[in-house]
């Protein structure tokens, strides 16, 4: 694993007027270059975690270190220049009148000189494959395209870490795939670290590492293969398991000698082919 980019140490957060902690003494690290999926039922504290990481809320207990430096009201702007967020609703995060204005918005705020700004906007839009939409107005775009523009807006600021807070949950299957594919490519290219907060277990299965949240607590962390071994336990937590894991289980129950529950359909098909050729 790479070096620690962000560390959470015993973080607790409670919303005003609530008796229960939304985030209940949680510790974990985020490593450079990884794709970390955070899953958990509605109200398990996932989105609150995202807000804490970006300094939209501050914990009542514990510390968050970004690149070794504590995240406080004083350091929040520095931390935000390193951590970009993409939210759930594509219609709530478009601020510019055109695609390029929207991407430039954050750069203007950061006081980037114009020639560099133009360059960065262009680059960012190239990376999400939206370069031909420079002067389009947002209402002409699909949900998936809007989210890609939102990602470009984040990329232009050259962050180390991008947080997707259920960024694909309002999209249709095609839009969802577009966005995930874009993020995957970016991650491969420039060592972007990704935190994806999601209900999509198929997406989480493709992450490098997973964190399972339950009622504000960190319930389990590990690689997807290990997490999905929990099968029934995950379902009790209000979650689900990927299709190929379910099917592997059913096949094993019917006496097909699979070596393990496969996380991807490709793996499962491959093993079935091997078994078939031996029969």
């Amino acid at each position: 694993m790479g070096k620690k980019l962000v560390s959470l140490e015993n973080i607790a957060f409670k919303y005003e007027g609530q008796s229960r902690h939304a985030v209940d003494h949680v510790s974990f690290d985020i490593y450079e270059g990884e794709w970390l999926a955070i899953v958990g039922h509605n109200g398990s504290g996932k989105s609150t975690l995202a807000k804490l990481l970006n300094g939209l809320q501050f914990p009542q207990a514990g510390t968050i270190l970004v690149n070794g430096k504590e995240l406080t009201e004083e350091t929040v702007w520095e931390a935000r220049s390193k951590i970009g967020m993409v939210f759930q609703n594509p219609d709530n995060q478009f601020v510019g009148a055109t695609v390029q204005d929207d991407v430039a918005f954050g750069l203007e705020n950061a006081g980037i000189p114009l020639p560099e700004m133009v360059q960065r906007v262009q680059n960012a839009l190239n990376k999400v494959k939206m370069e031909s939409f420079l002067n389009q107005e947002p209402h002409h775009l699909s949900g998936g395209q809007k989210q890609r523009v939102a990602i470009a807006g984040v990329l232009a600021l050259q962050p180390d870490l991008i947080i997707l807070d259920e960024a694909t949950s309002m999209l249709d299957p095609r839009g969802r795939e577009e966005v995930l594919e874009t993020v995957r490519e970016l991650k491969e290219e420039n060592l972007l670290t990704v935190i994806s907060i999601t209900h999509d277990l198929e997406e989480a299965a493709k992450a490098d590492r997973m964190i399972v949240m339950n009622e504000g607590k960190l319930y389990r962390q590990g690689i997807p293969t290990d997490i999905f071994q929990m099968e029934g336990e995950l379902i009790e937590l209000g979650l689900d398991i990927p299709f190929s894991v379910k099917l592997s289980k059913e096949l094993k129950e019917r006496g097909i000698g699979l070596i393990k529950s496969h996380l991807t359909e490709e793996e499962l098909v491959r093993e079935l082919c091997e078994l078939h050729s031996k029969m």
């Binding site: 209000g238 379910k246 098909v269």
Partner: protein, 288 residues
Amino acid sequence: MRITLQDVEYRYQINTPFEHLALHDVNMDIVSGSYTAIIGHTGSGKSTLLQHLNALLKPTKGSITIGDRTIESGRKEKHLRAIRRSVGIVFQFPEHQLFEETVEKDICFGPMNFGVSEKDAKDRARKALEQVGMDEEILEKSPFDLSGGQMRRVAIAGVLAMEPDVLVLDEPTAGLDPRGRMEIMDMFYQLHKERGISTILVTHSMEDAARYADEIIIMHQGTVFKKGTPFDIFSQPEQLLELGLDVPDTVRFQLKLQKELGVRFDRPCLSIEDLATEVKKAMERGNR
């Protein structure tokens, strides 16, 4: 209550430079007590179609019959309240429409707007909350103090409290966690079975379409591309894939296995259990 569409066309901003044809030549017959799934891409006309189902939009050509009322293009329609009461629409992200001070007031708003007395509306609110699996305790709370999942349920309860004969559901579980999704879908199915409520589900989830619907209607480029039982529809998965639509996980897996393993399946499997059994049989056939 039966809903029939005849040669329905709908143009947005007709007679302006922005005129846009959203629906054309749409014919369908949704019989009383049925469960229909409507699938199709974003932009295929699904949302425009569903707004016709309770006369929020009126066709620019053709006609639509909802129960004993016929709505025709080119005619001024009045007194549509009865239709709006009997066809309840749960829009996408319905929690965005919550507005009252308390959960109780929010749920009562619809029925009282249609002339139900305050006392009866309150009774209905309790019943509707129970149906969506929520506790009476929250009646006095502000809907804005609830979690996203709870808000969704309260919003749905607001539609159920109108006691509609037809329920139109537009992606009712988007953004919910897997358990919430299953609970809500099962709840709608139970209402459909127990009370014979006609249910029309607009969805991207082929699993839900396969699991709950009696009939699936595929919308493509503003018109009905195909309709049939889930079994019919998913018997020709290539057709759906060509349109860029998904097929259920189980069917997609069958296709992969046919390709990689050279085994043949004679029918689509619509549940994981069924698929596992068929895969086993196919593997054993290969043995001989």
